[in-house]
Amino acid sequence: MEAMASTHLLTLDGLHVTYHTPAGEVTAVHDVSLSLPRGACVGLVGESGCGKTTVALAIMRYLGQHGRVRRGHIRFQGQDLLQLSPRQMRQLRGAQIAMVYQEPGAALNPSLTIGTQLREVLRAHQPRTRDEAARRVAQMLRDVRLVDVDRILAAYPHQLSGGQQQRIVIAMALLGQPSLLLLDEPTTALDTTIAAGITSLIQEIRRRFGTSMLYISHDLGRVMEVCERVYVMYAGRVVESGPTRLVFGSPRHPYTRGLLQALPHPGAHKHTQPLRAMPGQPPGLTPQLPGCAFAARCEALQAGTCDVIEPLLQPVGADGHLVRCHRWADLARPVTPVVTPASPPPASGGIVLQVSALRKDYPLPHQGGGRRRVVSANVAVSFMAQQGDIVALVGESGAGKSTVARIVAGLETATAGTVLWQGENLAQHPVTQRTLAQRRAIQMIFQHAHETLNPSWTVGAQIARVYTRYGLARDAQTRQRLVLEILDRVQLQRTLAQSYPYQLSGGQQQRVAIARAFAAQPALVIADEPVAALDVSVQAAVLALLLDMQRVHGTTLLFISHDLGVVRYLADTVVVLYLGQVMERGTVHEVFAPPYHPYTAALLTALPTLAPQPRPTLWDGEVPSALEPPRGCPFVTRCPHKLPGLCETTRPPSQAVTASHMIACHLPLAQCRAVFPAS
């Protein structure tokens, strides 16, 4: 025990946490044991609702009035946290244990400046003079790699970007010089590139300050990068744990395998290596059934064993690799990509959508005097889509992807440029001026699963409305039949027609949204980040469905995403946007192979890989404000390859690599060939 206390900063021992709900006492965390060596970073992974956050809250003793630790111990530096008085616990929080939350915006007080909030933290822990506190705070902001410290100290949270806010939250947590940092989904709410920056910051902090970390995430790629040990949680239980390379390299639990198979691997493409989605969803806070908690979703289920006896954590080999499965020995084969015979890409038809030199300006609120200022969401965006193709628009937040989508959809009108749809220019036609046939032909799937359906009406009624509007079903009986059929098509139970949206999970809501879009039998479906807010496993299932529907109906899909992994898997044609301009355009194979645009290469670098390796930091900067875009190439402020004097002042030329591949860059193509994503 003594030896344990000296090497392990934190140990959880048989932790049981229950919540009091109207339905009675439910177990959220079931017999979780975990140890965190000093200076180590340990990952806690699993889908939403598997109890990861509850573990962190239990360590902080923040369970609220309904949560309670039923059994078990939480030892931190040799003392049992559950025995401490609230007063002692308060002293520990911040000074010894600090937590970083998922939503940086919610962790900062909107009505105080950043400087005030950071100095407050210092005052709470160690009384200091004003000057010394100010010096410490400024130094800490430099430590989290924020530039322009004076401006940030005087700023209010809403004036900063999400990435900057998260850096400040981390700085705030570090100010008390804690020995343990709990990170709860620190990058989930952020863009891929920003998330990559935060991950490398976390690794740097660990090196410099020797802070131990518990890293909670459903993003396996990020966990792979930062953690040397990982605990996979399902339904409140640790189902597999061990060194990261073993758990992810040769997973033994069907759940871990399922999570890994749901990830779009580098090199995977829809035609060669389809994603495998795990069926079902975590049970959530419901009374426990006998047997293995994962039985209901398990492919390796052995009736008579798995659904009767709850498995125990058993060792696999010597490296502390543990698995809670009856059948782990049978699941020894490594996860090899299931190579299905390459389904030939469907022959592309003619061009259905041609977007040329599209521009959208938004007027800014009048500042008085002078001429009215405008901010451009798009500057001369051009691309085209062939029938049956998936065209992906990629880029970070603020790239103007959604604006393009909304113009094509008719929710906004363009300032200039054309959107040619079946020979007609729709750029200046809002939906109200489009014909019924045009409206029917272009459908949209929206980003936020929870607000894509009207909470006041049943799922069935909302799908039925589509049939009514487009005159696809005259009488109630036909309508009813069509609704049930399309529910079958999107693999939802027919009984869900009578359900209200709040009774559905995020993945189910997005399935209904897909059903609603395809019910109109459209020629073009615009999908605006349809899976961005979903768990990895649900994401795979929704993508598979979208792909299937698209293929069967021969629909053209305009897919908008910031996730290059998903785009590489799904798309036929890729358009890379940055600050409203097209940086690179081509087929998926052309864009994801040399020659690269420096921006595409940077995006690829930011993509988490499933290989543990130090991440080379390619860039630190943020997307410049659209109010004052750079005069020359928009990417010039962050580009590692910029040509001094030229890139700052002159717009880059569009260089044609092949007939379908275009790179907008000053670098000669020969030099673009030498630009590689660093990984």
Partner: protein, 284 residues
């Protein structure tokens, strides 16, 4: 509207699960039943002059008690309160309902259309809201004369701007939702989007406000009666009952006290109900 039925059922469910909701519901229900059953429950006709200045509990000539005493004209206070509940519970919801109809309509228009229409409606409502409300009532009713219709009219005019602002705020928020964009893409009319896509999702906050506002309107009707602008005598009006007997409050305290209690208990009931409705919206 299946949504409404479900909402009402859930509301009742929540109300009966907290003592606050139960108390509110019973207070309001007691007055509703009392008002409805006044002809059978009231021991005397409300206008009958019997025994003046009888304190509570006095036994009348016919053997029935004046449970709450009688007023200076010898009318039984309990009977007048029960009949008065009919007036209050008829005209207060009527006025609130009218105010809601207008407030919701204008609020939806202002919030959904935006632009000059929004600016115009908002400025007009600002002007009305900035005007001292009692002066407004006195002016309106003194000009067109006190009658049930005019009272409803005055209260509608004074309450609608406040409701409009709430609806406008909710609409501006809700019209950003993706399901509204989906409806626009289907080519739904503005009226359909406002009434079917937006309004049902504003019902939670509006129900809370409606309960509170109904209480406030009942209060206002009491004040109007007290100022002599209520229903013309001798109809049993709670506010008028207080007004007629306030000079005698020191000698015969029960005369104004019981009408006061009647108003407070009904308003309290509605406020408690609003509280539990708010809880139920939060649960959603």
């Amino acid at each position: 509207m299946p949504g409404v039925k479900r909402g009402v059922r859930r509301m009742l469910w929540v109300c009966t699960r907290s003592w606050v909701g139960m108390l509110g519901l019973s207070l309001v229900l007691a007055w509703v039943l009392g008002g409805l059953g006044a002809p059978w429950l009231a021991p005397f006709p409300p206008q009958a002059t019997l025994l003046p200045f009888a304190p509570p509990g006095t036994v009348s000539e016919v053997g029935t008690r004046f449970w709450l005493g009688t007023d200076h004209l010898g009318r039984d206070i309990l009977s007048r309160l029960l009949y008065g509940a009919r007036t209050v519970l008829l005209y207060a919801p009527l006025a609130t309902g009218c105010a809601y109809a207008i407030g919701i309509l204008l609020g939806l228009l202002a919030g959904y259309a935006g632009g000059w229409l929004d600016a115009l409606l908002s400025r007009v409502s600002d002007v009305i809201l900035a005007f001292p409300v009692l002066v407004l009532y006195v002016l309106v009713i003194a000009t067109i004369g006190p009658s049930a219709v005019n009272i409803v009219l005055a209260i509608t005019c004074a309450s609608a701007p406040g409701i409009m602002r709430i609806v406008r705020g909710l609409t501006r928020e809700l019209r950003q939702r993706d399901y509204v964009a989906a409806a626009q893409m289907r080519g739904e009319s503005a009226g359909y989007i406002m009434l079917v896509e937006i309004l049902p999702n504003a019902r939670g906050p509006l129900l809370v406000d409606a309960c509170l506002r109904l209480g406030y309107v009942i209060m206002t009707m009491g004040v109007l009666g007290f100022l002599g602008l209520g229903l013309p005598p001798p109809s049993p009006d709670w506010g008028s009952m207080i007004n007629e007997t306030r000079a005698m409050a020191q000698v015969f305290p029960w005369m104004p006290l019981f009408p006061c209690l009647a108003i407070s208990s009904l308003v309290l009931g509605l406020n408690l109900l609003a509280d539990s409705v708010q809880d139920q919206t939060r649960l959603q």
